[in-house]
Assembly symmetry: C4
Amino acid sequence: MKKKVYEFINTNSYFVKFIYTLIILNVISLILASYKEINYEYHPILEGFEVFSVIIFSIEYILRLWSATHEYETGTDLGKRMRFVFSFPGMIDLLAVLPFYLPLLIPFDLRVLRILRLFRLLRIFKLGRVSKSLQTVFSVLRESRAELSITLFVAFILMVLSSTLMFYVEHEVQPDKFENIGMAMWWAVATLTTVGYGDVYPVTGAGKLLSSVIALVGIGFVALPTGIISSAFMTKVQEEKSKKAAEDAATLITTCPHCGADISDIKH
Amino acid sequence: MKKKVYEFINTNSYFVKFIYTLIILNVISLILASYKEINYEYHPILEGFEVFSVIIFSIEYILRLWSATHEYETGTDLGKRMRFVFSFPGMIDLLAVLPFYLPLLIPFDLRVLRILRLFRLLRIFKLGRVSKSLQTVFSVLRESRAELSITLFVAFILMVLSSTLMFYVEHEVQPDKFENIGMAMWWAVATLTTVGYGDVYPVTGAGKLLSSVIALVGIGFVALPTGIISSAFMTKVQEEKSKKAAEDAATLITTCPHCGADISDIKH
Amino acid sequence: MKKKVYEFINTNSYFVKFIYTLIILNVISLILASYKEINYEYHPILEGFEVFSVIIFSIEYILRLWSATHEYETGTDLGKRMRFVFSFPGMIDLLAVLPFYLPLLIPFDLRVLRILRLFRLLRIFKLGRVSKSLQTVFSVLRESRAELSITLFVAFILMVLSSTLMFYVEHEVQPDKFENIGMAMWWAVATLTTVGYGDVYPVTGAGKLLSSVIALVGIGFVALPTGIISSAFMTKVQEEKSKKAAEDAATLITTCPHCGADISDIKH
Amino acid sequence: MKKKVYEFINTNSYFVKFIYTLIILNVISLILASYKEINYEYHPILEGFEVFSVIIFSIEYILRLWSATHEYETGTDLGKRMRFVFSFPGMIDLLAVLPFYLPLLIPFDLRVLRILRLFRLLRIFKLGRVSKSLQTVFSVLRESRAELSITLFVAFILMVLSSTLMFYVEHEVQPDKFENIGMAMWWAVATLTTVGYGDVYPVTGAGKLLSSVIALVGIGFVALPTGIISSAFMTKVQEEKSKKAAEDAATLITTCPHCGADISDIKH
């Protein structure tokens, strides 16, 4: 019985599709509820859908918890269930339903509740569980982690240095824009990432020169991670190729099909 | 006769160039007509050119439809013509002339008509039909489709997550800018793509911190597809090289060095 | 005598450095002259330097023209000089001094003169004449020319399509911003290149959706040429390596240094 | 004794961590001090921490100077100490404490002092001393230095050319925005780097056309260094692989297959 439930939850394509559809509809309903006019007019429908989906997700969570004994091979039943609760998908599933029950238990402030509801969005990541491409992308990012983090680190130092310098250069002229180093860092981020909102920018000659240098360095700050990731992708593609080539090489002809003589020392 | 028409339409360089010139002039005339002063002064000329080109394109379409029996090898005449009508170039050709005739048939609203005229621009894609480079670029994009779409998917989730979070952070302070999650998504797109129009940006400390994180992630969002495409291009170049090398290698050992028998039919 | 002049102009390091310094000082003086206060106060100095440098560049041009007979190996003296006049460096040299003499010959309008002075800036390209790196970069760009121009072409079509669509979407709401398709194209360029000045942006829902799509496509528009150039650079580096490897392979050991037996069929 | 101090400073993990923590806290305190309210309320604490950290860094510097005789192998004691003082880490260490003592010695102007305090931030680079990834990134940048600087050089020429042209095009219409070529260069930087603050942009047709061209070239200006860096990264990864492969290959044939003699000292 438990095994059948476990298999139904994880492999029945209708059930899986139903859950995925419900997740997406939930995100859409959350976005729609932020529109004042829509929330005003369709409040009962949105609220009803909210209750309906929380019930479904709660039942799903309980079934997953109950059938988690089939998820893992070793350990006691309680141990397996604990492992599920603290696993990444288990945590997401719990955080997706918890914000609905919490205010029923403890007299929570409403504003906190609203922020907690955000975790529901994490359910979308369930959709990516199976994807092979996602794993390729993530494995490339993981392999180039060291170089990427050093780039981020250098960028961070540069940001602190340039924003402090900019603060001293522009503070006198624009005390409201470059009020403190924090504001100058906001400028540094917008410039280094080449976003350039245009709410904060230098007006003095020295400030513009510094900003130009940082904008040019920003190009490098885009180029470096791109180069790192490109290289990691290429390496991955080549690894898969050479793995396949090695397998193919094992089946190469080493004897002449006509006389049976060993010709493995002939270069192919 | 039909075969001659078919060959004339598709291979006669003067006719082909004439059609391409007409397409480009049509696009220019459409752009010029959007300038109030130009439209006011040269309305008869633009209108006349419109009628003239629609007539030419209609005749061309009819001839293509009539001679479509030479386009495909198998099937009945009607089947071949249906295949042409529903083929991609056939659809573009039809949509390019249809908006002119539709209001004559059905009492259409004028505004809808104006939007339909846009399809005429798709004729330009005819110009790229022959290009080998376009095929290279498209084949690279097709091969890295899986990784590119997963990047887009992750970016989309990130966009929904960050814009919802941003809505709760900034809505209180800027209710007119971050009116709903839709507006926050507009900010998220502008930041993630590093466009940064500057019409919507956070003003609170938490909002600026979140925006900085998203702008930095945006760098990665530029770096990832670039890395994917770079890798796919390199793979394509190397494949073409190794294909050539394999062809060259096939002419190396064709006889067994021990018995002299022909082994050129063995795959190396 | 003529040969000595030719060698002096092209190889004497002091003369070459003097000319390069003069070019750079000329650019700086042109920039400084655009500052109203500086131009007001130091007008005689800037004007004097202008006359001085034009005299030097004129003498240099005459000497180059005179000694051009040593530049090329075949042809008559006049033919060689004509070849120099119409060569790229010869044209730049002429255009650099011509704007000064033209108003003396023909009663030209002053405004046209000012624009002609811009060609003087092209002299800077002389500085790059010898650089090997510049040739590497240019050869990479030349080799990936076909793919880069098709990308530009697709981007151009996309720009025309999206700006026309945007014009119909936003014209009603913002008739001053999206006045005509030309203005919409200005928005399309700013969005596709992710510059995002922020002077023109959509305000309607449909416009924002279209803008988001174009901004996302803009990422691809950055990624594609980068991928093409990365791939071309990699191919260039590998070509140089395999050329070197082929040269090295020719010197590989083919006989055992101890017994003198042929071991060239052993795989290294 | 001196050797023990040298080893304690450079290898004792508690001391090293303490110094790193102090550096980071110093940067944070510098940022916090720029907030008017925080500086007003916690001035004595920030000032006290300032004095405390300068004392620690001064003692560290004196100890490093004293034990520098163990840093280098050759030279006299004074020579070794001079070498340390003028080494890069030695200079950073000195510049980090000097701004505090200078006003005590010479009656310096306060504003100059504030700018000198910025060097303290350079201490953070100490953190990167050991990192292997930082060296990888730096070595990639160093190897592609020639191509990167030529790109920067071409970009600079383009910037001067386009900003001069833009000045003549837009000066008449927007004399306050495009006041001089310097201001036009500010626009050129913002456009070429695709930052696009939006404080300066063309309004005339010709200006917009030029800006569009520069923005499109800006894409290339992002693509080129990215391509160069990607290629350099790939080359580095492949070099490390082939180095490993060469080491593996060196253990393959070590004896002549004909006479059995040891030929492992022959380079393959």
